[in-house]
Every structure is written in structure tokens, then in C-alpha cells.
């Protein structure tokens, strides 16, 4: 075999392997397309079924036996109130835990247990949190099947998300910032409060939004608590006429939330109710997509703007 033959043989082999490269690239694009097409089909299906039902009345009416006049008023009010409880609980606890693990925790076995535990909590199925809430909040602590129980259950569920986001955001701040603060005589807390938290706020906010978006769509834990699916009244208003103008009675009120309302309509055999489910699903998807989109945008801006 002379030199040109050898070269041609090599070329042939490389060409053969490059064909595999090309084939795989096509496969990759097809796989990506399957995911994208599913999303489009899902959105289109809901848009076609649900769009005609979406009107002002749909947002301002209670659920009803007659599908044409049923609406999601009690559901979106319930979702809003539950999210208030969830955010008020998960944000301080999650950020506090994240700050502790990243800045304060000594290197010992207990810290290691804490870290492994947070990872494990993130892997616990959401319905298990529902069982915990049913046993602990609803019966043991006697909070009942209330907005408070549901909000706390979802707060526990998204706690790992907030903790991990806080840790990552704080970790990305260079050590020089801390050293600078300490050199000026700042205490640890002054360093954290005046420097680390403000600089990592965008990252923490991203984590909080993603966590809350997940909580809005969670159905299983709330069903497990025993939320009613048919609620034709609103919880008591948080603002009252007389003194002291603020009431916390709504915390103990029975409630329903968006995903439960949707689940209830989906599981009915009549087609008219399934159209309602599509409309409720559309509202729900737009809510979570907006929140997730906001988080992605925040992260994108952060990556562009911050250069240490």
C-alpha cells in the first residue's frame, strides 16, 4: 500500500465517524423537538379548550354546579392567601438557614448532617409533606384544614429550594468583600447584613420566585391535608372596619386553591367541566410561567451585570 492509499483509507474512516457525529446531532435536535412539541401541544390544547371560558366573570364567580356559570374566585383568593403564609414562613427560615450554613457553620459532623439532610429533604416526594402536615399541623397542633396548615406545608416543601439558592448566591461573593469588611472592624453579622445579603439579593430572589412558582402548582400535599374542593365563599377579610383594623381570622378559614379547583373539574365526567379545567389550567400555567420567566430573566441580568 503506498502513501495515498493509506491517506485515503484514513480519510474514509474519519468520514465514517463524522457521519456518526452528524447522525447524533440530528437525534439531539429531534429529542429537543419532542420536548418543545409537547409543550406546544399542551399549551395549544388548553388554549383551544379554555380560551372561550376565560372572561371577567370566570375570575369573579364561585364554583357552581352549572359549568357555564362556574368560576375561580375562591380558588385564586385561596392561592394568594396560602402563598402569603408560605412566603412569610419559607423566606426568613430558608435565608437564615442558608446564611448559617454558608457563613457561620463550623466544619464538624453536625454541619455535615445538616447539609446531607437538606439534600435529602429536596428528594422527599411532595405528598409525604402532605402526610406530615396532616398528622402534625391538622391534628397534633389542631390547626385544622385551614389556610395556615396548607401554607406551612408548602413552606416546608420549598424550604430546600430557598436554602440552596441562598447558599449559591452567597458563595459566589468573593472572599475579598468579607475581608474588607472585617478589616474595617465589622462583626460577622454586620458583614452579612450590610454586604453579603445585599450583593446576593438578586440570586436569593430568583430562588424564592422559583420556589413559590413550584408551591403555586403543588396539588398533592394540599389534597392530603383535606382541602375542600367546593368552596363557594371567601375567607374573612384581613382588613376589618373597627379597631384594630387587621384580622387574622382568615388563617383558620377553610379554602381551596387553583390546582385543586382544576383537579376537581378534570375528574368530572361532563365535558363542560373539563373546559373549565382547561381555563383554570391556562391561568395557572400563565402564573407559573410568568414567575419562572421572571426568575430566568433576573438570573440572566445578574450574570451580565455583576463582574467581581
Amino acid at each position: 500500500m503506498d502513501k495515498t492509499d493509506e491517506l485515503n483509507e484514513l480519510r474514509r474512516i474519519i468520514g465514517l465517524h463524522k457521519r456518526w457525529d452528524f447522525l447524533f446531532m440530528i437525534t439531539g435536535i429531534i429529542a429537543l423537538m419532542i420536548a418543545i412539541l409537547t409543550f406546544i401541544a399542551l399549551f395549544a390544547q388548553m388554549l383551544i379548550d379554555g380560551m372561550p371560558r376565560l372572561s371577567w366573570d370566570f375570575f369573579t364567580s364561585f364554583p357552581s354546579r352549572r359549568p357555564e356559570s362556574a368560576g375561580i374566585l375562591s380558588a385564586w383568593v385561596g392561592t394568594t392567601l396560602v402563598m402569603l403564609v408560605t412566603a412569610a414562613t419559607a423566606v426568613p427560615l430558608g435565608v437564615g438557614a442558608g446564611v448559617y450554613l454558608e457563613e457561620y457553620a463550623p466544619k464538624n459532623i453536625f454541619t455535615e448532617i445538616l447539609e446531607i439532610n437538606v439534600t435529602n429533604l429536596a428528594g422527599v416526594p411532595s405528598i409525604i409533606y402532605g402526610l406530615l402536615a396532616l398528622g402534625l399541623f391538622v391534628y397534633q397542633l389542631g390547626l385544622g384544614q385551614s389556610i395556615l396548615s396548607a401554607g406551612l406545608a408548602l413552606a416546608l416543601l420549598i424550604l430546600p429550594v430557598v436554602i440552596v439558592a441562598t447558599r449559591e448566591a452567597i458563595r459566589s461573593i468573593p472572599v475579598a468583600i468579607r475581608e474588607g469588611a472585617y478589616a474595617l472592624g465589622a462583626t460577622k453579622w454586620q458583614t452579612v447584613y450590610d454586604h453579603l445579603l445585599p450583593y446576593s439579593s438578586a440570586g436569593i430572589l430568583t430562588g424564592i420566585i422559583i420556589g413559590l412558582a413550584r408551591a403555586i402548582g403543588e396539588t398533592a400535599p394540599i389534597i392530603t391535608i383535606g382541602a375542600l374542593t367546593f368552596i363557594a365563599f371567601l375567607p374573612p377579610s384581613p382588613i376589618t372596619e373597627g379597631f384594630p383594623y387587621i384580622s387574622f381570622e382568615w388563617l383558620t378559614a377553610p379554602f381551596t386553591v387553583m390546582p385543586i379547583q382544576m383537579f376537581n373539574w378534570v375528574s368530572r365526567p361532563e365535558e363542560a367541566f373539563q373546559l373549565n379545567a382547561a381555563a383554570a389550567g391556562l391561568v395557572l400555567v400563565v402564573m407559573t410561567l410568568t414567575m419562572n420567566g421572571l426568575a430566568i430573566y433576573l438570573r440572566y441580568r445578574m450574570r451580565k451585570n455583576i463582574k467581581w
Binding site: 465517524h17 422527599v124 405528598i127 402526610l131 398528622g135 402534625l136 383535606g226 378534570v266
Partner: protein
């Protein structure tokens, strides 16, 4: 210089040891520590709660019956407490889901990390993330009202509720989790390994399969394990699209209940606190927790054993 210092007579007091300042620091540290320690409390209370209620349950029903009886009818007069049908439903639906999610997720990850141009990656990654953020109840609706009718065109005998359509949709739902974690693991492999491979004349595909994937094995294993525990613990898709009738079958074309779907079904009804029906959902929950725990431990071991450090 010394004149200036003398004017500020109080400087030693301000910079020196301050009792109040120290106390505040300690106080804040303990508050932060408590919020971190709460995660351990949560984990412990999950275990205690499930074990406590299951303990009462197992005084009624022997563990042997629980594991070997082939019927699960706790709410009927002729009550049977065999977890097997629920476990079978969970295994079948998860298997279908993983057959979709693991290959597709891996292919997407390899494509995005090794092949795709920068602009495609910048668009595809956030898009996949959005897909992962859609509520599961919406996926359930999609499985029941879009995928099942579609599958019925191909398999006319498919019933209205089936593990197959629930599993397929669950698989697509899990793709973003698998692909984003796998891709992160692959991109963490240092560039010089790839450059070495290219220098030897390997193509992109060869490099991806024989160099990058083995190097990222521990991360990819973690991604797969996460996908598995997601599939096992997924609730709403199976509750809506697979029916809620316990049915001991390994055939994905049949309707059946999973462990999670059973818990939902019981919770929808009005069960008195402390009844045997109430305890069954905790026993089912404990089974589910143990299943996911086993996978988490396997994942932990794999990560430890195969971790590559560069």
C-alpha cells in the same frame, strides 16, 4: 499623630471588647442556627409521624399480609391490606416514565453540552426550565385529554385510564430535570480532557461517549437517581390519568393505582382521624418514603465511589 489620637479618648472603648455587641452577635448566630437545624427537625418529624401511624396500622395487619397479599381493599367490608398492587402500579408507571426520560434527557444533555452552538443552548436551557416549572396537575390534564385519545388512535383497545399514558407524560415531565443535571455534570468536565481526545483524532461523538460521559459519571448517576425518585413520588399525573383502582398488573395498557394515587383517593374522601383507613395512607406513605430513600442512598454511594476529582 499622637495629638489626633488623644482627642478621641473613647477610641479604645469603641474598638475593644464590647459586651453588648458580642451578645447581639451570639443571639443572631443562635437564631440562624435554629433555622438551619429546623431542617433536621422536619426530617425527623416526617419519619416519626409516618412510623407512629404505621405502627398502629401494623398492630391490625401483619407485616406478612401487607407484603404478600395481592389485594388492596382497605375501605371495603372484605378488607385486604396487600401493598403489592400499589407497588406494581408505581413500578410500571415509573418504568414507562424512565424509558422516556432517561434516554431523551441524556441525548438532549449530550447535544446541548457537546454539540449545540452557543445560541441554541442559550434558548433551549431556559425553555427546558420553563417546561419543568409547569404544575403537575396541568400535565395530568394533558395526559387524560390529549395523550390518551392520541394513543387510542394507535391502540384502539386502550382504556380511558391507563398507566401507559400517565407514564409517557410523566417521562416528558421529568426530561428537564434529567437533562439539566446531566448537562451540568458534563460541562463540569475540564476542557483539557476533550482537547486531549480531539488531538488523538476522535470525533465529537466519540469524545462525548468515551471521554466526557465516563468522566461525568457520578453527576449523571445523581441525575438519573433524581429522575427515578421524581417518577416514584409523582402524584397528580397518575391520579388523574391512570385511574385510582388498585389493580395488580404489570401491563402498562391497564388502569391501576399507584401508592401516591391511593393516598390522594383516600384524602379526597372524608376519613375520620384515627380510623384504619386513615392509618393506611401513612403506611403507604412510609413504603413510598423507604423506596425513595433506597434510591437516594444508592445515588449517594455511586457519587462517592465514582467521583472524579480534577
Amino acid at each position: 499623630m499622637s495629638d489626633k489620637l488623644d482627642k478621641n479618648k473613647n477610641y479604645a472603648g469603641r474598638l475593644g471588647y464590647s459586651y453588648r455587641r458580642n451578645l447581639r452577635e451570639r443571639l443572631i448566630e443562635s437564631v440562624l442556627f435554629l433555622s438551619a437545624a429546623l431542617s433536621v427537625v422536619i426530617m425527623l418529624s416526617i419519619v416519626v409521624m409516618l412510623v407512629k401511624e404505621s405502627f398502629v396500622f401494623f398492630q391490625h395487619v401483619s407485616l406478612w399480609d401487607f407484603l404478600t397479599d395481592t389485594q388492596w381493599t382497605p375501605l371495603f367490608d372484605d378488607a385486604h391490606y396487600g401493598i403489592l398492587p400499589l407497588v406494581a402500579g408505581t413500578v410500571v408507571s415509573s418504568t414507562v416514565a424512565l424509558l422516556v426520560a432517561l434516554p431523551l434527557g441524556t441525548i438532549i444533555a449530550i447535544y446541548l453540552s457537546e454539540f449545540a452552538p452557543f445560541s441554541v443552548r442559550e434558548i433551549a436551557k431556559p425553555f427546558l426550565e420553563l417546561l419543568g416549572g409547569i404544575p403537575t396537575v396541568v400535565y395530568g390534564y394533558f395526559a387524560l385529554l390529549f395523550v390518551t385519545p392520541l394513543l387510542q388512535m394507535i391502540f384502539p383497545t386502550l382504556p380511558g385510564f391507563s398507566l401507559l399514558s400517565a407514564g409517557l407524560v410523566m417521562g416528558i415531565m421529568i426530561i428537564p430535570y434529567v437533562s439539566s443535571m446531566t448537562e451540568d455534570a458534563m460541562r463540569a468536565v475540564p476542557m483539557h480532557l476533550r482537547e486531549g481526545s480531539y488531538a488523538m483524532g476522535a470525533t465529537r461523538f466519540q469524545t462525548a461517549i468515551r471521554v466526557v460521559m465516563p468522566a461525568a459519571f457520578s453527576g449523571i448517576a445523581a441525575a438519573y437517581i433524581l429522575g427515578i425518585s421524581r417518577a416514584v413520588g409523582e402524584t397528580m399525573v397518575v391520579a388523574i390519568a391512570a385511574g385510582m383502582q388498585p389493580n395488580l398488573t404489570w401491563n402498562p395498557m391497564e388502569p391501576a393505582a399507584t401508592i401516591t394515587a391511593y393516598i390522594v383517593q383516600v384524602s379526597l374522601g372524608d376519613l375520620p382521624h384515627g380510623s384504619i383507613g386513615y392509618q393506611t395512607i401513612f403506611a403507604a406513605g412510609l413504603t413510598l418514603l423507604l423506596m425513595t430513600l433506597v434510591f437516594n442512598i444508592i445515588g449517594h454511594v455511586l457519587r462517592k465511589r465514582y467521583r472524579e476529582i480534577y
